[in-house]
Amino acid sequence: MKPLFIQKELDITLTRLAYQLVENHMDFENTVIIGLQPRGIFLSDRIHQKVQSFLPKTKIAYGKLDITFYRDDFNEKGQLLQVSETQMDFNIEGKHVILVDDVLYTGRSIRSGLDALLDYGRPAHVELLVLIDRRFNREVPIQPDYVGMAVDVIDNQKVKVLWKERDGKDEVILL
Protein backbone atom coordinates (compact mmCIF):
# COMPACT_ATOMS: atom_id res chain seq x y z
CA MET A 1 0.00 0.00 0.00
CA LYS A 2 1.48 3.27 -1.11
CA PRO A 3 -0.08 6.70 -0.61
CA LEU A 4 -0.19 8.79 -3.80
CA PHE A 5 -1.76 11.85 -2.22
CA ILE A 6 -2.27 12.95 1.33
CA GLN A 7 -4.51 15.73 2.50
CA LYS A 8 -2.32 18.77 1.87
CA GLU A 9 -0.95 17.67 -1.49
CA LEU A 10 -4.43 16.83 -2.63
CA ASP A 11 -5.63 20.31 -1.80
CA ILE A 12 -2.74 21.86 -3.74
CA THR A 13 -3.54 19.71 -6.76
CA LEU A 14 -7.26 20.54 -6.63
CA THR A 15 -6.40 24.24 -6.46
CA ARG A 16 -4.15 23.84 -9.46
CA LEU A 17 -6.87 22.06 -11.44
CA ALA A 18 -9.39 24.77 -10.55
CA TYR A 19 -6.95 27.48 -11.71
CA GLN A 20 -6.39 25.62 -14.96
CA LEU A 21 -10.14 25.62 -15.55
CA VAL A 22 -10.37 29.34 -14.89
CA GLU A 23 -7.38 29.93 -17.18
CA ASN A 24 -9.12 28.17 -20.06
CA HIS A 25 -12.70 29.21 -19.42
CA MET A 26 -12.12 32.70 -17.94
CA ASP A 27 -15.47 33.92 -16.64
CA PHE A 28 -17.32 30.56 -16.87
CA GLU A 29 -20.20 32.36 -18.54
CA ASN A 30 -20.81 29.58 -21.06
CA THR A 31 -19.23 26.72 -19.12
CA VAL A 32 -20.79 24.08 -16.90
CA ILE A 33 -19.22 21.54 -14.54
CA ILE A 34 -20.74 18.05 -14.44
CA GLY A 35 -19.65 15.37 -11.99
CA LEU A 36 -20.19 11.70 -12.81
CA GLN A 37 -22.13 9.67 -10.23
CA PRO A 38 -21.35 8.01 -7.96
CA ARG A 39 -17.66 8.53 -7.32
CA GLY A 40 -16.88 11.61 -9.38
CA ILE A 41 -19.11 13.93 -7.42
CA PHE A 42 -16.83 14.27 -4.39
CA LEU A 43 -14.16 15.63 -6.71
CA SER A 44 -16.59 17.77 -8.69
CA ASP A 45 -18.01 19.24 -5.45
CA ARG A 46 -14.53 20.40 -4.45
CA ILE A 47 -13.61 21.67 -7.91
CA HIS A 48 -16.90 23.55 -8.14
CA GLN A 49 -16.37 25.12 -4.70
CA LYS A 50 -12.87 26.24 -5.60
CA VAL A 51 -13.77 27.69 -8.99
CA GLN A 52 -16.75 29.40 -7.41
CA SER A 53 -14.51 30.96 -4.76
CA PHE A 54 -12.21 32.32 -7.48
CA LEU A 55 -15.13 33.82 -9.36
CA PRO A 56 -17.52 35.00 -6.64
CA LYS A 57 -19.53 37.20 -9.03
CA THR A 58 -20.70 34.44 -11.39
CA LYS A 59 -22.95 31.60 -10.41
CA ILE A 60 -21.28 28.55 -11.87
CA ALA A 61 -23.65 25.97 -13.32
CA TYR A 62 -22.99 22.62 -11.69
CA GLY A 63 -24.70 19.28 -12.23
CA LYS A 64 -24.40 15.61 -11.36
CA LEU A 65 -24.96 12.93 -13.94
CA ASP A 66 -25.78 9.26 -13.32
CA ILE A 67 -24.54 6.93 -16.03
CA THR A 68 -25.89 3.57 -14.79
CA PHE A 69 -28.43 3.18 -17.59
CA TYR A 70 -25.72 3.75 -20.21
CA ARG A 71 -23.11 1.32 -18.95
CA ASP A 72 -22.14 -1.72 -21.00
CA ASP A 73 -21.66 -3.78 -17.83
CA PHE A 74 -24.75 -2.85 -15.81
CA ASN A 75 -25.55 -6.50 -15.31
CA GLU A 76 -22.25 -8.24 -15.81
CA LYS A 77 -21.42 -9.23 -12.27
CA GLY A 78 -24.89 -10.68 -11.68
CA GLN A 79 -25.65 -7.73 -9.45
CA LEU A 80 -27.31 -4.63 -10.77
CA LEU A 81 -25.45 -1.38 -10.27
CA GLN A 82 -26.92 1.04 -7.79
CA VAL A 83 -28.72 3.88 -9.52
CA SER A 84 -27.78 7.36 -8.31
CA GLU A 85 -29.42 10.71 -8.67
CA THR A 86 -29.06 12.97 -11.71
CA GLN A 87 -29.32 16.69 -11.01
CA MET A 88 -29.01 19.02 -13.97
CA ASP A 89 -31.20 22.08 -13.81
CA PHE A 90 -29.68 23.81 -16.81
CA ASN A 91 -29.51 23.35 -20.54
CA ILE A 92 -26.23 22.07 -21.99
CA GLU A 93 -27.08 23.04 -25.59
CA GLY A 94 -24.12 25.01 -26.98
CA LYS A 95 -22.30 25.00 -23.62
CA HIS A 96 -18.71 24.12 -22.77
CA VAL A 97 -18.98 21.09 -20.53
CA ILE A 98 -16.30 19.92 -18.10
CA LEU A 99 -16.92 16.30 -17.12
CA VAL A 100 -15.37 15.33 -13.81
CA ASP A 101 -14.51 11.85 -12.54
CA ASP A 102 -12.05 10.61 -9.93
CA VAL A 103 -10.08 7.86 -11.68
CA LEU A 104 -9.70 7.39 -15.43
CA TYR A 105 -8.99 3.70 -15.92
CA THR A 106 -10.43 1.75 -18.88
CA GLY A 107 -12.31 4.79 -20.19
CA ARG A 108 -15.58 2.90 -20.33
CA SER A 109 -17.34 4.99 -17.67
CA ILE A 110 -16.44 8.16 -19.54
CA ARG A 111 -17.76 6.58 -22.74
CA SER A 112 -21.09 5.95 -20.92
CA GLY A 113 -20.92 9.46 -19.49
CA LEU A 114 -20.60 10.97 -22.97
CA ASP A 115 -23.60 8.97 -24.19
CA ALA A 116 -25.65 10.07 -21.20
CA LEU A 117 -24.57 13.68 -21.64
CA LEU A 118 -25.53 13.82 -25.31
CA ASP A 119 -29.09 12.77 -24.44
CA TYR A 120 -29.46 16.15 -22.73
CA GLY A 121 -28.53 18.13 -25.83
CA ARG A 122 -25.58 19.08 -28.01
CA PRO A 123 -22.81 20.80 -26.07
CA ALA A 124 -20.37 23.01 -28.00
CA HIS A 125 -17.39 21.30 -26.46
CA VAL A 126 -16.70 18.63 -23.85
CA GLU A 127 -13.56 18.35 -21.71
CA LEU A 128 -12.55 15.77 -19.15
CA LEU A 129 -11.02 16.42 -15.75
CA VAL A 130 -9.75 13.52 -13.62
CA LEU A 131 -7.82 13.29 -10.39
CA ILE A 132 -5.93 10.14 -11.32
CA ASP A 133 -5.10 9.02 -14.85
CA ARG A 134 -4.07 5.34 -15.04
CA ARG A 135 -2.38 5.77 -18.38
CA PHE A 136 -1.67 2.18 -19.35
CA ASN A 137 -5.08 0.62 -18.84
CA ARG A 138 -7.26 2.23 -21.47
CA GLU A 139 -9.72 0.02 -23.40
CA VAL A 140 -11.27 2.80 -25.49
CA PRO A 141 -9.58 5.87 -26.99
CA ILE A 142 -10.44 8.50 -24.36
CA GLN A 143 -7.94 11.00 -22.96
CA PRO A 144 -8.27 13.58 -20.19
CA ASP A 145 -7.75 17.33 -20.62
CA TYR A 146 -6.93 18.06 -16.97
CA VAL A 147 -5.08 15.56 -14.80
CA GLY A 148 -4.35 15.67 -11.07
CA MET A 149 -1.73 12.94 -11.28
CA ALA A 150 -0.83 10.41 -13.94
CA VAL A 151 0.15 7.03 -12.53
CA ASP A 152 1.65 4.07 -14.32
CA VAL A 153 0.46 0.92 -12.58
CA ILE A 154 -0.12 -2.63 -13.64
CA ASP A 155 -3.55 -4.08 -14.20
CA ASN A 156 -4.10 -5.86 -10.91
CA GLN A 157 -3.13 -2.89 -8.75
CA LYS A 158 -5.92 -0.75 -7.41
CA VAL A 159 -6.14 2.98 -6.95
CA LYS A 160 -8.41 3.97 -4.08
CA VAL A 161 -9.58 7.52 -3.56
CA LEU A 162 -10.84 8.46 -0.09
CA TRP A 163 -12.86 11.61 0.59
CA LYS A 164 -13.39 13.33 3.91
CA GLU A 165 -17.16 13.55 3.32
CA ARG A 166 -17.50 9.82 2.90
CA ASP A 167 -14.42 8.10 4.36
CA GLY A 168 -13.34 10.54 7.07
CA LYS A 169 -10.10 11.63 5.39
CA ASP A 170 -8.74 12.83 2.06
CA GLU A 171 -6.24 10.38 0.62
CA VAL A 172 -5.36 8.53 -2.55
CA ILE A 173 -3.66 5.17 -2.12
CA LEU A 174 -2.23 2.53 -4.39
CA LEU A 175 -3.14 -1.01 -3.29
Binding site: Q79, L80, V83, Y120
Partner: protein, 310 residues
Protein backbone atom coordinates in the same frame (compact mmCIF):
# COMPACT_ATOMS: atom_id res chain seq x y z
CA UNK B 1 -28.87 -4.11 -4.66
CA UNK B 2 -31.27 -6.56 -6.17
CA UNK B 3 -34.86 -7.72 -5.97
CA UNK B 4 -35.62 -10.80 -3.86
CA UNK B 5 -37.86 -12.22 -6.62
CA UNK B 6 -37.34 -13.38 -10.19
CA UNK B 7 -40.82 -12.46 -11.34
CA UNK B 8 -43.15 -9.65 -10.44
CA UNK B 9 -46.29 -11.70 -9.94
CA UNK B 10 -47.80 -9.80 -7.06
CA UNK B 11 -46.99 -7.36 -4.28
CA UNK B 12 -47.77 -10.19 -1.86
CA UNK B 13 -44.39 -11.81 -2.64
CA UNK B 14 -42.33 -8.61 -2.30
CA UNK B 15 -40.36 -7.47 0.72
CA UNK B 16 -40.70 -3.84 1.82
CA UNK B 17 -37.09 -3.37 0.67
CA UNK B 18 -38.07 -4.56 -2.84
CA UNK B 19 -40.84 -1.98 -2.99
CA UNK B 20 -38.47 0.74 -1.80
CA UNK B 21 -35.92 -0.27 -4.42
CA UNK B 22 -38.49 -0.17 -7.22
CA UNK B 23 -39.80 3.23 -6.13
CA UNK B 24 -36.30 4.65 -5.77
CA UNK B 25 -35.27 3.38 -9.20
CA UNK B 26 -38.51 4.72 -10.68
CA UNK B 27 -37.63 8.21 -9.45
CA UNK B 28 -34.47 8.09 -11.57
CA UNK B 29 -36.41 6.88 -14.59
CA UNK B 30 -38.89 9.70 -14.08
CA UNK B 31 -35.94 12.06 -14.47
CA UNK B 32 -35.01 10.27 -17.72
CA UNK B 33 -38.56 10.92 -18.98
CA UNK B 34 -38.12 14.68 -18.49
CA UNK B 35 -35.08 14.83 -20.75
CA UNK B 36 -35.09 15.99 -24.37
CA UNK B 37 -34.16 12.42 -25.36
CA UNK B 38 -36.37 10.17 -23.25
CA UNK B 39 -34.59 6.96 -24.00
CA UNK B 40 -31.68 5.05 -22.47
CA UNK B 41 -29.82 2.11 -24.05
CA UNK B 42 -29.93 -0.12 -20.95
CA UNK B 43 -32.02 -3.08 -22.21
CA UNK B 44 -30.90 -3.07 -25.82
CA UNK B 45 -30.08 -6.80 -25.60
CA UNK B 46 -33.45 -7.76 -24.11
CA UNK B 47 -36.65 -8.81 -25.88
CA UNK B 48 -39.98 -8.46 -24.15
CA UNK B 49 -43.29 -9.93 -25.23
CA UNK B 50 -46.52 -8.28 -24.11
CA UNK B 51 -49.04 -11.10 -23.77
CA UNK B 52 -52.45 -9.51 -23.37
CA UNK B 53 -55.29 -11.98 -23.06
CA UNK B 54 -57.59 -9.22 -21.88
CA UNK B 55 -58.29 -5.71 -23.17
CA UNK B 56 -56.19 -2.83 -21.96
CA UNK B 57 -55.29 0.68 -23.08
CA UNK B 58 -53.31 2.37 -20.35
CA UNK B 59 -51.35 -0.56 -19.00
CA UNK B 60 -50.43 -1.87 -22.41
CA UNK B 61 -49.31 1.46 -23.83
CA UNK B 62 -47.50 2.21 -20.60
CA UNK B 63 -45.59 -1.08 -20.68
CA UNK B 64 -44.79 -0.69 -24.35
CA UNK B 65 -43.46 2.82 -23.85
CA UNK B 66 -41.45 1.70 -20.83
CA UNK B 67 -39.88 -1.10 -22.88
CA UNK B 68 -39.13 1.18 -25.82
CA UNK B 69 -37.60 3.87 -23.61
CA UNK B 70 -35.26 1.25 -22.20
CA UNK B 71 -34.36 0.24 -25.80
CA UNK B 72 -35.74 -3.29 -25.41
CA UNK B 73 -37.25 -5.04 -28.44
CA UNK B 74 -40.97 -5.52 -27.98
CA UNK B 75 -43.48 -7.92 -29.44
CA UNK B 76 -47.18 -7.38 -28.93
CA UNK B 77 -49.65 -10.14 -28.67
CA UNK B 78 -53.40 -9.83 -28.39
CA UNK B 79 -55.35 -13.01 -27.73
CA UNK B 80 -58.20 -12.04 -30.03
CA UNK B 81 -56.00 -11.98 -33.15
CA UNK B 82 -53.85 -15.02 -32.36
CA UNK B 83 -53.87 -18.82 -32.35
CA UNK B 84 -55.43 -18.75 -28.88
CA UNK B 85 -58.70 -18.27 -30.73
CA UNK B 86 -57.90 -21.59 -32.48
CA UNK B 87 -57.66 -23.31 -29.11
CA UNK B 88 -53.93 -23.22 -28.32
CA UNK B 89 -53.19 -23.55 -24.59
CA UNK B 90 -51.52 -20.87 -22.51
CA UNK B 91 -48.34 -22.88 -21.97
CA UNK B 92 -48.05 -23.76 -25.65
CA UNK B 93 -48.55 -20.16 -26.69
CA UNK B 94 -45.92 -18.93 -24.25
CA UNK B 95 -43.41 -21.69 -25.02
CA UNK B 96 -43.69 -21.07 -28.75
CA UNK B 97 -43.05 -17.38 -28.29
CA UNK B 98 -40.16 -18.00 -25.91
CA UNK B 99 -38.49 -20.44 -28.28
CA UNK B 100 -37.90 -17.39 -30.44
CA UNK B 101 -35.56 -16.16 -27.65
CA UNK B 102 -37.65 -13.75 -25.66
CA UNK B 103 -36.28 -12.76 -22.25
CA UNK B 104 -39.27 -11.30 -20.46
CA UNK B 105 -43.03 -11.66 -20.51
CA UNK B 106 -45.53 -9.00 -19.53
CA UNK B 107 -48.83 -10.71 -19.09
CA UNK B 108 -52.45 -9.85 -18.50
CA UNK B 109 -55.04 -12.56 -18.16
CA UNK B 110 -58.64 -12.75 -17.00
CA UNK B 111 -57.91 -15.84 -14.87
CA UNK B 112 -56.46 -15.19 -11.43
CA UNK B 113 -53.14 -16.99 -11.02
CA UNK B 114 -52.43 -17.38 -14.76
CA UNK B 115 -48.99 -15.70 -14.54
CA UNK B 116 -48.10 -17.77 -11.45
CA UNK B 117 -48.97 -20.90 -13.38
CA UNK B 118 -46.90 -19.82 -16.37
CA UNK B 119 -43.95 -18.94 -14.11
CA UNK B 120 -43.68 -22.62 -13.14
CA UNK B 121 -43.38 -23.68 -16.76
CA UNK B 122 -41.15 -21.19 -18.51
CA UNK B 123 -37.74 -19.69 -17.96
CA UNK B 124 -38.34 -16.03 -18.72
CA UNK B 125 -39.09 -13.37 -16.09
CA UNK B 126 -42.78 -12.61 -15.87
CA UNK B 127 -44.40 -9.31 -14.95
CA UNK B 128 -48.04 -9.57 -14.02
CA UNK B 129 -49.99 -6.79 -15.73
CA UNK B 130 -53.22 -7.87 -14.04
CA UNK B 131 -54.62 -11.34 -13.42
CA UNK B 132 -58.37 -11.68 -12.94
CA UNK B 133 -59.42 -10.39 -9.53
CA UNK B 134 -56.06 -11.19 -7.92
CA UNK B 135 -53.30 -8.61 -8.36
CA UNK B 136 -52.10 -5.75 -10.52
CA UNK B 137 -48.72 -5.07 -8.96
CA UNK B 138 -47.39 -2.31 -11.20
CA UNK B 139 -50.58 -0.30 -10.64
CA UNK B 140 -50.11 -0.47 -6.87
CA UNK B 141 -46.46 0.53 -7.22
CA UNK B 142 -47.31 3.53 -9.37
CA UNK B 143 -50.08 4.49 -6.94
CA UNK B 144 -47.62 4.41 -4.05
CA UNK B 145 -45.09 6.34 -6.11
CA UNK B 146 -47.70 9.00 -6.93
CA UNK B 147 -48.79 9.33 -3.29
CA UNK B 148 -45.18 9.73 -2.19
CA UNK B 149 -44.59 12.31 -4.85
CA UNK B 150 -47.57 14.38 -3.73
CA UNK B 151 -47.53 14.10 0.07
CA UNK B 152 -44.25 12.42 1.02
CA UNK B 153 -43.40 9.13 2.74
CA UNK B 154 -46.18 6.54 2.96
CA UNK B 155 -45.46 5.75 6.58
CA UNK B 156 -48.47 6.65 8.73
CA UNK B 157 -50.47 8.05 5.81
CA UNK B 158 -54.16 7.17 5.68
CA UNK B 159 -55.44 5.77 2.41
CA UNK B 160 -59.06 4.88 1.67
CA UNK B 161 -59.84 2.48 -1.17
CA UNK B 162 -63.36 3.21 -2.28
CA UNK B 163 -65.75 1.17 -4.40
CA UNK B 164 -65.68 -2.31 -5.85
CA UNK B 165 -63.13 -3.96 -3.57
CA UNK B 166 -64.38 -7.46 -4.33
CA UNK B 167 -63.54 -7.48 -8.03
CA UNK B 168 -60.58 -5.13 -7.94
CA UNK B 169 -57.06 -6.44 -8.41
CA UNK B 170 -55.94 -2.84 -7.97
CA UNK B 171 -57.43 -2.87 -4.47
CA UNK B 172 -55.71 -6.08 -3.42
CA UNK B 173 -52.30 -5.01 -4.72
CA UNK B 174 -52.72 -1.61 -3.10
CA UNK B 175 -53.60 -3.18 0.24
CA UNK B 176 -50.42 -5.29 0.18
CA UNK B 177 -48.24 -2.44 -1.03
CA UNK B 178 -49.52 0.26 1.31
CA UNK B 179 -49.53 -1.89 4.44
CA UNK B 180 -46.00 -3.13 3.69
CA UNK B 181 -44.89 0.48 3.41
CA UNK B 182 -46.43 1.38 6.76
CA UNK B 183 -49.55 3.23 5.59
CA UNK B 184 -52.98 2.76 7.18
CA UNK B 185 -55.65 1.43 4.84
CA UNK B 186 -59.43 1.47 4.99
CA UNK B 187 -61.71 -0.04 2.37
CA UNK B 188 -65.10 1.50 1.81
CA UNK B 189 -68.03 0.44 -0.36
CA UNK B 190 -71.40 -1.26 -0.29
CA UNK B 191 -71.32 -4.45 1.82
CA UNK B 192 -71.95 -6.59 -1.25
CA UNK B 193 -68.72 -5.32 -2.86
CA UNK B 194 -66.50 -5.87 0.18
CA UNK B 195 -65.12 -9.40 0.57
CA UNK B 196 -65.67 -11.20 3.86
CA UNK B 197 -62.65 -11.40 6.19
CA UNK B 198 -60.84 -8.57 4.38
CA UNK B 199 -59.83 -7.30 7.87
CA UNK B 200 -57.40 -10.22 8.07
CA UNK B 201 -55.21 -8.31 5.60
CA UNK B 202 -54.77 -5.59 8.18
CA UNK B 203 -57.23 -3.05 6.80
CA UNK B 204 -60.25 -1.32 8.30
CA UNK B 205 -63.74 -1.42 6.78
CA UNK B 206 -66.17 1.51 6.56
CA UNK B 207 -69.54 1.53 4.88
CA UNK B 208 -70.16 5.27 5.05
CA UNK B 209 -68.26 7.18 2.41
CA UNK B 210 -68.31 10.45 4.32
CA UNK B 211 -66.72 8.80 7.30
CA UNK B 212 -64.02 7.28 5.07
CA UNK B 213 -63.29 10.57 3.33
CA UNK B 214 -63.08 12.41 6.65
CA UNK B 215 -60.60 9.86 7.92
CA UNK B 216 -58.22 9.65 4.96
CA UNK B 217 -55.38 11.71 3.44
CA UNK B 218 -55.76 9.96 0.08
CA UNK B 219 -58.86 8.48 -1.55
CA UNK B 220 -58.21 5.93 -4.26
CA UNK B 221 -61.54 5.61 -6.04
CA UNK B 222 -61.90 2.33 -7.91
CA UNK B 223 -63.84 1.57 -11.03
CA UNK B 224 -67.14 -0.27 -10.83
CA UNK B 225 -66.37 -3.40 -12.82
CA UNK B 226 -69.68 -4.42 -14.28
CA UNK B 227 -67.96 -6.89 -16.62
CA UNK B 228 -66.81 -8.98 -13.66
CA UNK B 229 -70.12 -9.02 -11.81
CA UNK B 230 -72.09 -12.04 -12.90
CA UNK B 231 -74.99 -11.26 -10.57
CA UNK B 232 -76.36 -7.87 -9.54
CA UNK B 233 -74.57 -6.61 -6.41
CA UNK B 234 -76.29 -3.23 -6.17
CA UNK B 235 -79.60 -2.14 -7.59
CA UNK B 236 -78.50 0.48 -10.11
CA UNK B 237 -75.56 2.63 -11.13
CA UNK B 238 -77.64 5.67 -10.21
CA UNK B 239 -78.10 4.39 -6.68
CA UNK B 240 -74.42 3.54 -6.40
CA UNK B 241 -73.50 7.05 -7.54
CA UNK B 242 -75.88 8.52 -4.92
CA UNK B 243 -74.40 6.61 -1.99
CA UNK B 244 -70.81 5.95 -2.97
CA UNK B 245 -70.02 8.40 -5.76
CA UNK B 246 -67.26 10.91 -4.93
CA UNK B 247 -68.47 14.34 -5.99
CA UNK B 248 -67.98 17.98 -5.15
CA UNK B 249 -70.74 18.18 -2.55
CA UNK B 250 -69.46 15.31 -0.46
CA UNK B 251 -65.88 16.63 -0.63
CA UNK B 252 -67.00 20.13 0.39
CA UNK B 253 -68.89 18.71 3.34
CA UNK B 254 -65.70 17.26 4.89
CA UNK B 255 -63.61 20.17 5.93
CA UNK B 256 -60.19 19.11 4.54
CA UNK B 257 -58.19 18.62 1.36
CA UNK B 258 -57.62 15.07 0.27
CA UNK B 259 -55.76 13.63 -2.69
CA UNK B 260 -58.01 11.90 -5.22
CA UNK B 261 -56.77 8.94 -7.26
CA UNK B 262 -58.33 6.62 -9.81
CA UNK B 263 -56.68 3.77 -11.71
CA UNK B 264 -58.77 4.43 -14.84
CA UNK B 265 -60.78 4.04 -16.94
CA UNK B 266 -63.18 6.38 -15.09
CA UNK B 267 -66.93 5.87 -15.24
CA UNK B 268 -67.60 9.60 -15.07
CA UNK B 269 -70.66 10.36 -13.02
CA UNK B 270 -70.67 6.93 -11.36
CA UNK B 271 -67.80 6.44 -8.92
CA UNK B 272 -66.27 9.85 -9.61
CA UNK B 273 -67.88 13.04 -10.87
CA UNK B 274 -66.22 15.07 -13.59
CA UNK B 275 -65.63 18.19 -11.47
CA UNK B 276 -63.65 16.08 -8.96
CA UNK B 277 -61.79 14.04 -11.59
CA UNK B 278 -60.57 17.25 -13.24
CA UNK B 279 -59.83 19.19 -10.04
CA UNK B 280 -56.38 20.11 -8.75
CA UNK B 281 -56.62 17.55 -5.95
CA UNK B 282 -56.90 14.74 -8.48
CA UNK B 283 -53.58 13.15 -9.45
CA UNK B 284 -55.08 10.75 -11.97
CA UNK B 285 -52.93 11.90 -14.88
CA UNK B 286 -49.80 11.95 -12.68
CA UNK B 287 -50.56 8.31 -11.96
CA UNK B 288 -50.53 7.57 -15.68
CA UNK B 289 -47.32 9.51 -16.20
CA UNK B 290 -45.60 7.78 -13.27
CA UNK B 291 -46.75 4.41 -14.60
CA UNK B 292 -44.13 4.49 -17.33
CA UNK B 293 -41.31 5.26 -14.89
CA UNK B 294 -42.42 2.56 -12.44
CA UNK B 295 -42.67 -0.04 -15.20
CA UNK B 296 -39.23 0.93 -16.48
CA UNK B 297 -37.93 0.32 -12.97
CA UNK B 298 -39.61 -3.09 -12.76
CA UNK B 299 -38.28 -4.14 -16.16
CA UNK B 300 -34.79 -2.87 -15.37
CA UNK B 301 -34.59 -4.58 -11.99
CA UNK B 302 -35.94 -7.90 -13.33
CA UNK B 303 -33.61 -7.79 -16.34
CA UNK B 304 -30.85 -8.03 -13.76
CA UNK B 305 -32.20 -11.50 -12.99
CA UNK B 306 -31.97 -12.69 -16.56
CA UNK B 307 -28.68 -14.55 -16.26
CA UNK B 308 -29.79 -16.40 -13.15
CA UNK B 309 -32.66 -17.99 -15.01
CA UNK B 310 -30.68 -19.91 -17.63
Amino acid sequence: MSLSVKHLLGIKDLLPSDIELILKTAAQFKEVLQRPIKKVPTLRDTSVVNLFFENSTRTRISFELAEKRLSADTINFAASSSSVSKGETLIDTAKNILSMKVDMVVMRHSASGAPHFLAQHINASIINAGDGINEHPTQALLDSFSIQERIGSLKGKKVALIGDIMHSRVALSNIYCLTKMGAEVVVCGPPTLIPKHIESLGVGVMYDIKEALKWCDVANVLRIQLERQNKPLFSSLREYAMYYGVNKQVLQSIDKEIVIMHPGPINRGVELSSDVADSKNAIILDQVENGVAVRMAALYLLAGKKDQML
